[in-house]
């Protein structure tokens, strides 16, 4: 304890080991750079384990994601992986969806048992998204291995038929797709609603939505997702600072030094991996998180009390 590796966090009201926080930031930043997720679902629980109050952990994490996603977006931008047009439209939907989600959660809370619904949505969502991605990318990898190159979109689904007839058809050059601007707007709104209800950034839902429903190439998905997360987290950081005073800047700064470096390395690692490999790894990560949540729901907690405000 004599080595001055501890810093006191004024808002969290606790002192932490600087190296542990830098390391945590680095690890989560790496995942963020590889997969285009904010990593809040990993970072927040780990911070709480280190003795940071839940509300401060979540708010400071948003603050650090601003830095990590700036760094990640820049790295992906240089690799030509950010579709700004798509990002803006999704963001617009996301903001509207977020506002709507906050209202929905108020109604749920009044009805009671909101936490039950939130947890259930979370686990089902993670299970569905992770499972679907895992199976799909596994099949795709096997096909590539066996050398069969079937036309993947030979079967015209009802979804693509409907999407094809919508107005405002727009060219998204960076993603190499053409579709109605209404599609990302509506999907962005839906993700925004879900993210607000679950109290998360929504990167892990947005990425599969972009891959499977918008049919964007995986690498562009990662860059565009990071670009969008940047704006979401700027908004959350300022709102939390004004309303709840829960952003610990010292904590955020330490985390973001680690995570910005991690995000840069992540972008490089991601480039070495194929789209299917990226998808299957992200799917595994999502399934692991689901497993952890399911375990927490089924096993008796150590302490039968929870602070209000954590998620």
């Amino acid at each position: 304890m004599s080595i001055p590796f501890h810093l006191y966090l004024p808002i969290a009201g606790n002192s932490v080991n600087v190296l542990a926080i830098l390391g945590l930031g680095g690890a989560v930043g790496l995942l963020s750079g590889i997969f285009g997720v904010g990593g809040g679902f990993l970072m927040t629980p780990l911070l709480i384990m280190m003795g940071i109050p839940p509300t401060v952990a979540a708010a400071s994490d948003s603050n650090q994601i601003v830095g990590a996603s700036t760094s990640g977006t820049l790295a992906h931008f240089r690799l030509g992986n950010v579709d700004f047009k798509m990002g803006f439209i999704l963001l617009l939907g996301g903001v509207a969806g977020g506002a709507l989600g906050v209202q929905i959660i108020k109604i749920l809370r009044q009805m009671g048992n909101a936490d039950f619904l939130i947890n259930l949505t979370y686990v089902l969502m993670l299970g569905f998204v992770g499972g679907y991605m895992f199976i799909e990318s596994l099949q795709s990898m096997q096909k590539t291995k066996s050398g069969r190159t079937e036309a993947p979109k030979a079967r015209k689904s009802v979804y693509s038929a409907v999407v094809g007839r919508l107005p405002f058809q727009t060219e998204f050059t960076r993603s190499g797709i053409r579709l109605s601007a209404l599609v990302p707007l509506v999907l962005g709104t839906l993700v925004g609603v879900l993210a607000a209800i679950m109290g998360v950034g929504g990167g892990f839902i947005m990425v599969p939505v972009m891959v499977y429903l918008l049919r964007m190439p995986m690498h562009v998905v990662v860059g565009t997702s990071l670009f969008q997360i940047l704006f979401t987290c700027v908004n959350v950081t300022i709102m939390q600072s004004v309303q709840n005073h829960t952003v610990d800047f010292v904590l955020a700064l330490l985390l973001l030094i680690g995570s910005s470096i991690g995000a840069q390395l992540g972008a490089k690692v991601g480039r070495k991996l194929g789209g299917d490999q990226l998808k299957i790894l992200l799917a595994s990560l999502v399934l692991i998180i689901m497993g952890k949540m399911l375990y927490e729901l089924l096993a008796r907690p150590d302490i039968l009390l929870a602070y209000v405000g954590g998620h």
Binding site: P4, Y8, P10, I11, N63, D115, V242, V247, S260
Partner: protein
């Protein structure tokens, strides 16, 4: 800021008034606390309080550090459909001290009822629970367990050392480690001398803990100028992310 100061003052006064009611017939116990106040600076990571004093000969001694009491809103976890553990009903605990450290010259159970009441089991009896809950004592015990895990509540048996004083009285000393998770506020250091299961002498003093240097500046910014603080935190995070990104660009360039 003025409101905060007033609130702080009210809390201090309330704390002083609500401190352990003097036991009838108990003499004044004098002791010294070193340091007399705690400064929480950038490198604060817990501090040791040295408590030294004199007690009537043949007494056992309990020294406590107790934080300000407040109300705490929490959620109770319970099973839904007999299967899933969830946050269920909201409840409020009242009279929850931010810190509770009790050190004794022996085990708390060996001190008799009055001694036991000075430890964590005594604290549990003073914490109230509001809300539609069935088993209040069990919930308070859970709360105390949670605070123990957080390093905020503690019983240190045998930590208080007793010695022989010059005039036949006993001396006592205890080095009490304050938690690293310390919030600014006013804490109360209390000492009790016990004989035959009853308190025979007691005393108390206030221990202010305040933020200084960078933590004080940041806390003032965050609470008094939340908007500016948020914008600055965002801008600095953005610039740091950009700077690190640019460093890697120049490194990566061939």
């Amino acid at each position: 800021m003025r409101q905060l100061t007033l609130l702080g003052l009210a809390l201090v006064l309330g704390l002083a008034a609500a401190s352990i009611a003097p036991v009838a017939g108990a003499a004044e116990l004098t002791f010294s606390v070193e340091p007399a106040s705690v400064t929480i600076d950038t490198f604060y990571d817990g501090r040791t309080l040295a408590v030294r004093g004199q007690a009537p000969a043949g007494s056992a001694v309990v020294v406590r550090v107790v934080g300000e009491k407040s109300e705490l809103h929490m959620k109770e976890k319970g099973k839904v459909f007999g299967l899933l553990w969830m946050n269920l009903d909201s409840l409020a605990f009242s009279g929850v001290p931010s810190v509770f450290i009790a050190a004794a010259s022996t085990g708390f159970f060996d001190l008799g009822p009055a001694g036991e009441a000075l430890g964590l089991s005594g604290l549990e009896a003073t914490i109230g629970v509001e809300g539609a809950v069935a088993d209040k004592p069990a919930l308070v015990a859970e709360l105390v367990n949670l605070k123990k895990q957080e390093g905020l509540y503690r019983e240190d048996q045998g930590l208080v050392r007793l010695g022989q004083g010059a005039d036949g009285s006993a001396t006592f000393s205890a080095d009490i480690g304050l938690p690293s998770r310390l919030s600014p506020g006013t804490y109360r250091v209390e000492a009790f001398a016990l004989q035959g299961g009853a308190v025979v002498a007691q005393g108390g003093s206030l221990l202010p803990a305040s933020l200084v240097s960078t933590p004080a500046f940041l806390a003032r910014m965050a609470f008094d100028h939340g908007g500016l603080y948020g914008v600055l935190a965002t801008v600095i995070a953005l610039l740091a992310g950009l700077a690190i990104g640019l460093v890697f660009q120049s490194k990566g360039a061939h």
